[in-house]
Amino acid sequence: MIQKRLLLGDEAIALGAIHAGISGVYAYPGTPSTEITEFIQLNAPEVRSRWCTNEKTAMEAALGMSYAGKRALVCMKHVGMNVAADAFVNSAITGINGGLVVLAADDPSMHSSQNEQDSRFYGKFAMIPILEPSSQQEAYDMMPYAYSLSEQMRLPVLMRVVTRLAHSRAGVATTTPLAQNGLNPDSERTHWVLLPGNARRQYASLVEKQTAILQSAEASAYNRRCGNGGAKLGIIACGIAYNYVMECNAMQAGIPVLKVSQYPIPAEQIKALAAECDSLLVAEDGQPVVEEQVRSLVGGNYPVLGRLTGDLPRMGELTPDNVGKALGHTSAPAFAAAENVVPRPPALCQGCGHRDVYDALNKVAAEYKDARIFGDIGCYTLGALPPFRAIDSCVDMGASITMAKGAADAGLHPAIAVIGDSTFTHSGMTGLLDAVNDNANITIIISDNLTTAMTGGQDSAGTNKFEAICLGLGVEPEHVRVVVPLKKNMEEITAIIREEIEYKGVSVIIPRRECIQTLNRKLRQKRAQE
């Protein structure tokens, strides 16, 4: 018996990429994608794998590695696609040299996210092939396939997964690793210099490739029909939706299933299924991307059921329960929901420096009638919950600084921004330059815990550089203040916050104390070594 390796979906993707001969992985941490890069860092020293400042720098560096002829992987959570979008969409126009796979990990049900946008829209928008594995084994197997597809089509390939695949473990059988590509820089400048004249030719070439991309999807082993037609209902099961459909015994019920894991949608296979059935159910995790396309494919009166018709819920992830319901299964749980259960929301750790920052901020903010605190994305977003209830907004990476600036422009005072160290270098620095250039009357707190804590303690790009960055961007030296967020320093911290609120211009306060999780981990490691 060949023992399979138990791998998270993320780890299966990482191992698949290593075995596909990648030379580099480029990523910014983001749930549920983080473990891909971590696995490569731990297991493949021959692959370049240092964390990037944000998803856009990651995407561009990966495109550069592809330009030089080698295979590259870029990973991000779904909202990271918004940050990388400029580079991502244009990488379809330039095309690629070495294979390039963009991995987007979507988070339907928003377990750790602020929306549930579906990255398949981005793939369709950029007009490139999309792969969506249904299992950990398929995620592994698809990586070498994705790279050869990318090099064959000379286009980046988008692989889309969801939380339930990324963070679920299963046995994976592995194959022989491929060697890395050699250095082979592209010399075709007309492909890469996207002046309008070149870009029009490249776009025409991308449009022309659509036929081949569609043919590849129609013929793909990842799009396959299970069961015979002649039934009332047929199911199109995309990505992991296939698992829920199979769990609900669709085959045993004589319902034909078209498993879809490669896009564009295999139009001929879908039309054939539609012709054999009276109606189609589209089961897909995320937004009704395929459902909309199937509707226009089969035409006006043909019944297409799914999230748009309410047969499946309009939002939230699929489950065996809601798919079962769509298939007409009725099941009453054996036990009703318990009475003595209340929600247990996450909270900032005991001993976390962010706690002291919010204690100080709340104390000072209470002295101003109109004080508003613009938050950002990270552990410190938990400052929105009791007992702190400290922040008034949290929108996207870096928005604390720029929203505070806009509100200050409108006359709000005091406008305070709270942003973490990693989020500041990800997308806060450019906003700070805007604020400095406009002499905005804002107070910025860069709560520096020396790590990217929310995602498990990855290196933070700006560690030891924050004062220099702020001074370099033009913040006045006397208004860059560093404090240590501890209870015993509360008087000093609140005094400094007051002073900087009263200063009419941009000030930056940097409370700096190591993340308690990272610190404890280091202490444990040290003790283990002794």
């Binding site: 473990e35 339930r164 473990r169 769990e247 329960d321």
Partner: protein, 191 residues
């Protein structure tokens, strides 16, 4: 044969270690496994759960359907109750009786325990006290695994015991011995 298990607790209580041990035992015996975990924001002191599915046949869904779980293994009594809707009529609940109170509105303990004990099949023990009494303060989760061993069935207690050795091997023989002792404490406590 199949066994659908929900592991529950509060972030940091060690339910993923339990999952790792069961996973190791399953992989070594060619039992199919799928295990959905919770990562990210909820690990910061919030409720965490893992759907662990074991089967001799192919497993499709990563998630367990409502009313289909054979077993709930929980490090915390209220967290055990949170998932009773997933339990089938003859399913079992193996849980710590020690409440973890990091919220201001934790329910009345007596009412909570009464609701738990009203379920048809339960094994409830103050595992943290047992761990302390036996000088095994870090192994409460392994005591719980020992209590659950009888109900896991698809894997023998001996297989789980062996996997404790594999999973803790990198931490040295003393840690392996402590955890196997913890496992036996749990195993022998359930008749």
């Amino acid at each position: 044969m199949k066994k659908d298990i929900i592991l529950a607790g509060v972030g940091g209580q060690g339910i993923l270690t339990i999952a790792t041990i069961i996973g190791d035992a399953a992989a070594r015996r060619g039992i199919n496994l799928k295990q959905a975990e919770v990562h990210g924001m909820s690990q910061r002191g919030g409720d965490v759960q893992s759907n662990l599915r074991l089967s001799t046949d192919e497993i499709y869904s990563d998630l367990i359907a409502q009313g289909a779980a054979d077993l709930i293994i929980s490090m915390e009594p209220m967290e055990a109750l949170r998932y009773v809707g997933y339990l089938h009529a003859e399913g079992c609940v193996v849980t710590s009786s020690h409440p973890f109170k990091n919220i201001p509105n934790y329910p009345d303990e007596e009412a909570l325990m009464a609701e738990l004990q009203a379920l048809p099949h339960t094994a409830i023990m103050p595992i943290e006290d047992v761990a302390k009494e036996n000088s095994l303060p870090k192994s409460a989760n392994i005591i719980l695994l020992g209590m659950a061993a009888k109900y896991i069935e698809i894997l023998s207690a001996e297989a789980l015991r062996e996997s404790i050795a594999h999973v803790f091997a990198s931490k040295g023989a003393a840690v392996v011995e402590q955890n196997q002792r913890a496992f036996d404490l749990g195993l022998n406590a359930v008749k």
